[in-house]
Subunit: 149 residues, 2 copies
DNA sequence: GTCGCTGCAAATTATTTGCAGCGTA
DNA sequence: TACGCTGCAAATAATTTGCAGCGAC
């Protein structure tokens, strides 16, 4: 993310809070800013350490609470759909997943085109791709019906 | 996965163990079979409960150990690249990730084509897709160099 | 001033580990 | 037979929660 965009995000934070009906506290602003200013996708402990430099008396659970809150509001996201427990898959063929954001259902699907999708140029400057995994998120039929009726 | 394929996988398990230099124990066979026979991507607790019906004296940590072992050997996989701690991302634009399987680096990239990739027909029978997220796994340049030299 | 937010400490949940006996190769 | 594997119980690590005082609106 470029500097202008970062600044805009940070400055707009209290407005975003207002829109989401939550208070703009000093702790939340600092945590959010820390996350916007980096592209390292840090973990909670890392964010905590960095925020602690600015607010030494902050507690780890405030960081947890804030991140969870911002995630619930859709302001930030967590990597790799970590929400629940670890789940396993014995399907050894290359495949992809459809994930229902409502009920958590995960179903496999196959796509030669996706398996073979050429990495964008930008990716090639970062490293060499060995595998492509696609996660399509949406609402499964069962949930859609339950909702529609 | 169809019935023939399942049978083939289950029958081939001891051979797979031999190839990977691990012993084929009753517990491992049952755990593996349980995972191959379902397409539900169960969590550890669920697998444990099911296996317990066949081996009542099995312990939860054997299930953990076995799943971890099979994963290390590449025989099964875990969903959503859960290996490490939860990580966060404040990038609100639709984007994708390149993940280095060596050092864990995650970097963002953008691709209009991927954002707009039409869901395969098979997916449309399961539900409605709202978002597409692609994870490309590979080796980043830093790791490649460290390895090459 | 009110009610949500924070820090503290303790609780929970998921996962891992040390050890001695057992079973596979 | 030998050494890896298992069950048990206890240890860790990650994350959540109850409570009383504080601060944003």
């Amino acid at each position: 993310m470029n500097a202008d965009k970062i600044r805009a995000r940070v400055e707009g934070f209290s407005e975003v809070c207002r829109q989401n009906g939550i208070k703009t506290t000093h702790q939340r602003s600092v945590i959010y800013r820390e996350l916007v200013e980096t592209d390292e996708h840090p973990d909670v402990e890392t964010i905590y350490k960095r925020v602690k430099l600015k607010i030494p008396e902050i507690s780890l659970d405030t960081v947890y609470r804030t991140l969870r809150l911002l995630e619930e509001k859709g302001i930030i996201s967590r990597l790799g759909s970590h929400t629940e427990r670890t789940r396993f898959d014995a399907n050894a063929d290359q495949h992809h997943h459809f994930v229902c954001t409502q009920c958590g259902l995960v179903s496999d699907f196959y796509s030669e085109e996706l398996n073979a999708f050429p990495p964008p140029k930008a990716v090639n400057t970062v490293g060499v791709v060995h595998a492509v995994h696609v996660e399509m998120k949406g609402i499964c039929n069962a949930c859609a019906e339950a909702h529609g009726e």
